[in-house]
Amino acid sequence: MLALTADQYADIAARHPDVVRSQFWTVWRVPALAAATVVYLMFCWWVFGIGQVLANTNWQIAGSYLVQWVTYEYRPTISIDRDGAMAVTFPRFDPIGPNPKPDWMTVERAPMERRIAAPKPTGATAGGFMAGGGFMAPDAAPAVSATPPTVRIEEVVKRAEVRFSAGARLVATPDRIVVEKGGETLVVPLGTGADVQATGPLPAWAAQKRAGDRIIVTFGLSGWAQIDGGSVAVHRRFPGWVNFVFDTNSAFFGKSAGEILHLIAAEPRLDLARSNLAVAVDDFLYNPSWQHLDVWTKLLETVVMAFIGTLFAAIVAFPLSFIAARNITVNWLANQTAKRFFDFLRSVDMLIWALFFTRAFGPGPISGMAAIFFTDTGSLGKLFSEALENIDGKPRDGLTSVGAAPIAVQRFGVLPQVLPVFVSQTLYFWESNTRSATIIGAMGAGGIGLKLWEAMRTHTNWPNIFYMVILIIGTVFIFDTISNALRSRLTGRAQS
């Protein structure tokens, strides 16, 4: 073992100063790299205005969008008329629709004598018709009183209570709205016009932009409500995807698996033309808010795109790579032409090909296929020709020396060496193209990518987006596994 004393070290240092003196670059490269990185990050912070964007971002929206991935909500509106008649309505076009007997809401009804203003003559402002909203323009009031009102008895809601979580609830009565949460109480008296003003200071969970403006009360994950002059918009949030299997309009909605099986197997037909099983399958596949059949078809398009694109690319790249390999084709011009052709296809990039073919063939899997085919002919051609250039020449020499035909030389002298490599690389590209087919789809090449992108644009369909994301990740995982298994078998066989 070598051990230096301090004297020996000093001796060596004196005779060979270059050996022991640290190189400037060796000492300073790590700090210099770190400093350069920090400077670059600061530059990007400034040039992209990241600080400003982050400061202007409404992070609450981001959070609420994230929550919407795995929840659904009921959106009843409690409207309070000036005469004290209330009504609870569910939006007509909401896919979740009305919840007939919600256990989170108690509604008390009572008959009441109402004076209904006769409809105003045409040409009046729309304000007069908004009786349910409790909003009435002051100048419209005399016009209403001019026509004699009709009187009739109606059953109206006198009290509505919405329970959000333990200790948090909202109670609406004709004269006031009371919100309780965590021991604090917010009281909003009504009937003084369109202005909304709470009695006392607002608790931390209630927000009002300006005095008299609407008040928004939040209940965390279980929802929020917006209190206007004459109405309360309630958003009651629940975890899960309630109408994932059957839509609320379906006869099978809200039933347990046993009940559904019983309905399919033993009950009389719901629709005389079809069996109950057919109804159930149709209701599931054509579920209006989840569109299972459509989503699956689009997913299949994406898978087909990657499959055909990669397969055709491999088929075309195969003969071309023999021309590009300089040990197979001994012609410099042919080698270079084929290689530059591969480089061109590869470098034009999938994006450009995808946009180009989408423009030419219209959105759909053909465009995506063509894009993958063009890019990967280049990539696979390059890899194939490199594999060919690295083969062992001896089997070929042997075959040539016994006078085999050129085709036979390639078939028995070259192919057995490269085929496992070719197949394994093709499988690898197939796997990674299943991934990239999603994104070229989003650019207009069709498939699940396009559907996903259209759903994202609306900013409202987050559960559907999450569903498609799960499907995509699952598909990619399955193809990864298949391709990995095939590749490991292939390479295992190649080694033995």
Binding site: F48, A62, F361, I439, L452
Partner: protein, 315 residues
């Protein structure tokens, strides 16, 4: 003249023939299945496409013809924002509109400016991905992190980042951020963290453990062992993967741009969809040149860093 075989040889011959038959059957079945799958796929794709392949083929040639500019100097004018002699006030020839003036008389042409933004997005995402992925990879490598409770979540986290489609990340950030490059940066960075983190921890697991043992023997703590035992070994490989990823990310940030993230990708999508021949060709040339330049530059750097080993296909 047929050779007479001994009984034993005949048995072997029979078995060999039987096996060959089975193999031939599998080959025929496999190829037949593949052909059926291809035929079905092609039929399905043609049905699902908005335009049928053979109906659209003539239009394809028309469209390609449309891309040819009126004269080839137009391409240069489009690229450098010079006024066109054919300017009729339409979007097709309004090249000078996009100039980004640095000062009076000095401007950056629009496409070059946007290309620089796209490149910068790619570089920033790769730098961020390398920093975060590098940190995570030390937590995920078996030899540096014996604790399962840290290693397992770190690996799963990187897998999720890798698997999540970048369209969704970009779209999600686009939904609540004001316009800007952040959605594209976020999407590319998140995928980069996952992809590089995996490659990095594999490098770390293959590293020589002797320097680490030496430091451990003299009482070095975790950070010191990482800094002085592992980093000097793995840094060249990390740098090589960084460059490889940079090549991929230049393409990825262009694509994310095309689906709404801004930059050159969006301009290309707009100009192709509006049939602007000269503009499209100018952007395509610019993109092609940039991608080739980045690839060559990175290949040159990597050759210096780790030699030819770096030229393996990577995820």
């Amino acid at each position: 003249m047929p050779t007479r075989l001994s009984d034993r040889a005949a048995l072997i011959e029979r078995h060999w023939q039987a096996q060959a038959r089975v193999r031939r059957l599998y080959t025929v079945l496999g190829v037949g299945g593949l052909i059926v799958a291809v035929a079905l796929s092609l039929w399905f794709a043609n049905e699902a496409n908005a335009g049928k392949f053979f109906d659209r083929l003539p239009h394809f040639l028309d469209f390609t013809g449309d891309l040819v500019p009126r004269d080839w100097l137009e391409v240069g004018r489009a690229m450098f924002d010079l006024p066109s002699p054919y300017d009729d006030g339409s979007l097709r020839y309004n090249y000078p509109e996009g100039r980004a003036y640095l000062m009076a008389g000095l401007y950056i042409p629009e496409y070059i400016d946007q290309m620089a933004i796209t490149l910068n997005i790619a570089l920033l995402s790769t730098v961020l991905g390398t920093l975060i992925g590098g940190l995570l990879s030390f937590l995920a490598a078996r030899n540096m992190m014996p604790n399962r409770l840290v290693r397992w979540p770190a690996r799963r986290f990187m897998e999720i980042l890798r698997a999540f489609p970048d369209v969704v990340v970009a779209g999600f950030f686009l939904s609540f951020l004001t316009v800007g490059p952040i959605p594209a940066i976020a999407a590319v960075t998140i995928h980069t963290i996952g992809a590089l983190g995996k490659l990095f921890f594999e490098v770390i697991e293959n590293a020589d453990m002797k320097p680490e043992e030496g430091l451990r023997a003299v009482g070095g703590n975790w950070i010191e062992r990482v800094r002085f035992a592992m980093l000097p070994q793995v840094l060249p490989n990390f740098a090589s993967y960084f460059l490889l990823r940079l090549e991929i990310n230049v393409r990825a940030s262009t694509i994310i741009g095309a689906v709404g993230g801004g930059g050159i990708g969006e301009l290309l999508r707009l100009s192709i969809s509006q049939n602007h021949g000269a503009k499209t060709i100018a952007i395509v040339i610019l993109l092609f040149g940039t991608i080739v330049a980045v690839d060559q530059f990175s290949a040159w750097l990597r050759r210096g860093l780790v030699g030819r080993d770096a030229f393996l296909p990577a995820a």
